[in-house]
């Protein structure tokens, strides 16, 4: 086994969540080493839809609604910081997002949900309910089957792959160390120091952040934590590049900065199967072409499935270990939206600062009542 120089913090997991935390720690001046698994890992960060999304998040959980809003409000600054540091434009567009509805009942339910969140957080929570005519002022090519939409001005989207690249480059520019292609075999904790064993050597650090997505399920118990996350599959299609026609992203259709139309998605409980099915892809495209009939003649160039990292209630798990002080688990299914918070407020807490009020409720104990 080769020897490795000690660092302040080891982060396990090189997806958007792990890279955001690792970037934030390195930016705060820590010596950070990131351990990433190989391409045989389930990589949600490479398969997700790319939304910076507020509307509907946190129904029944005011902390999550506030945490999400705060992240969305930080996104513009975060994107410009990444561009300055790395030269990578993450293609952030945050001019408001739409949830298009195909019947009145769905629209009423969505609007009711947002009204409930507004009441729950007791503050400024902006959204508008649009009928078809109002919707067409924002998105003129919406089809006649759409009855209306909910519009939230904080919503937007980024290129998730450009974001991942920016975080890797930013991390490297801050002297962060990346060790790729390693699987963690074991974690030992002794006298305030973590020894993380991998086939290629032992990594030693004073703090440990578990951000391994679905892998956290097995890693967390090694340091006295719990992350009962399960996979939930989403399928996505992307089209050939077309002329710009769609400015406002929605949960189901968005057009990327380079002209690709990205279409989703499904929510399937199928275990660790990240494949695609004709049944779901047909359903997804049928909905998208009802929303935007002009998509009927557009060619699809690629489809894929990816696994969301879902906790039992869908909210994040952020927790510090009491039996192994210095170990943290970080997991959520909204790594894109929450990236600025993960690199900012969450990182400050991991570094010994005050735990943000909004995340007090995100301990795993809530699953054992």
């Amino acid at each position: 086994m080769s020897a490795h120089r000690e660092v302040d913090t080891l982060v396990i997991g090189g997806g958007i969540v792990g890279m955001s935390v690792a970037y934030g720690l390195a930016r705060a001046g820590e010596r950070v080493r990131l351990l990433d698994e190989g391409d045989d890992a389930f990589r949600a960060a490479r398969g997700n839809f790319g939304l910076v999304w507020v509307q509907g998040k946190g129904l029944g959980n005011a902390g999550y609604a506030r945490w999400t809003m705060a992240a969305a409000q930080e996104w513009a600054v975060f994107a410009s910081e990444l561009a300055d540091r790395t030269g990578v434009d993450v293609e952030l567009s945050q001019i408001g997002g739409l949830t298009m509805c195909l019947d009145e009942a769905e629209l009423a339910e969505r609007a009711g949900g947002l009204a409930a969140i507004r009441q729950q957080i007791g503050g400024d929570y902006r959204f508008e309910v649009l009928d078809l005519a109002q919707l067409r002022e924002l998105s003129p090519l919406v089809g006649p089957d759409v009855v209306g939409a909910v519009f939230c001005p904080l919503d937007g989207h980024v290129s998730p792959l450009r974001l991942l690249r920016a975080l890797f480059q930013g991390f490297a520019s801050l002297k962060g160390e990346l060790v790729a292609g390693v699987h963690v075999d074991a974690i030992d904790y002794k006298d305030g120091v973590f020894h993380v064993r991998t086939p290629s050597g032992v990594h030693v650090a004073g703090k440990l952040v578990l951000a391994a997505g679905l892998g956290n399920r097995d890693l967390a118990p090694l340091v006295g934590l719990d992350a009962p996350v399960k996979p939930n599959r989403g399928q996505i299609l992307v089209s050939e590049r077309v002329q710009p026609f769609l400015k406002h992203p929605s949960l189901h259709v968005r057009q990327t900065g380079e002209g690709v139309v990205q279409i989703g998605d499904s929510k399937e409980d199928v275990g660790y199967d990240d494949g695609t099915t004709l049944e779901q892809l047909s359903r997804i495209t049928a909905r998208a072409t009802r929303c935007f009939p002009l998509l009927k003649n557009v060619n699809i160039v690629r489809t894929w499935g990816a696994l969301r990292v879902m906790s039992p209630d869908g909210f994040p798990i952020y927790q510090a270990s009491t039996t192994c002080p210095g170990a943290f688990v970080v997991t959520c299914h909204s790594g894109i939206t929450l990236a600025p918070r993960h690199a900012g407020a969450l990182t400050q807490w991991i570094r010994g600062g005050i735990e943000p009020t909004d995340i007090h409720g995100f301990k795993a104990e809530r699953f054992h009542v």
Partner: protein, 101 residues
């Protein structure tokens, strides 16, 4: 730039229109070969950077030979046999959709 290695003049020919101008192609050739034989380069400008592109693989893989054929956009010209009277347009940037502009 390109010339066929087979003897010319033995095959039947077809006429097609490229950007409104008539060219003659050997029957049985793919559209991409016909365009290259007629000296058409580049075939298109890319949607993102606007760079010029011409066929690379000629076997359906690279998608660099995309042209518009009889009103249909983003057609792989290397996978299509020339037909008498074909109307071909070269593409500049991303394709359009009905009603998009």
């Amino acid at each position: 730039m390109f010339r066929p290695i087979e003897p010319t003049g033995e095959k039947r020919t077809v006429a097609l229109q490229v950007e409104g101008k008539s060219i003659v192609a050997r029957a049985g050739d793919t559209l991409a070969i016909a365009l290259l034989n007629a000296g058409v380069t580049p075939f298109r400008q890319t949607p993102v950077s606007g760079r010029p592109r011409a066929p690379l693989c000629l076997m359906g893989v690279c998608f660099d030979c995309l042209v518009e054929v009889d009103g249909q956009q983003n057609v792989q010209s290397c996978m299509l046999e020339v037909q008498e009277g074909m109307q071909v347009q070269l593409q500049h940037g991303a394709r359009h959709m009905e009603g998009d502009v």
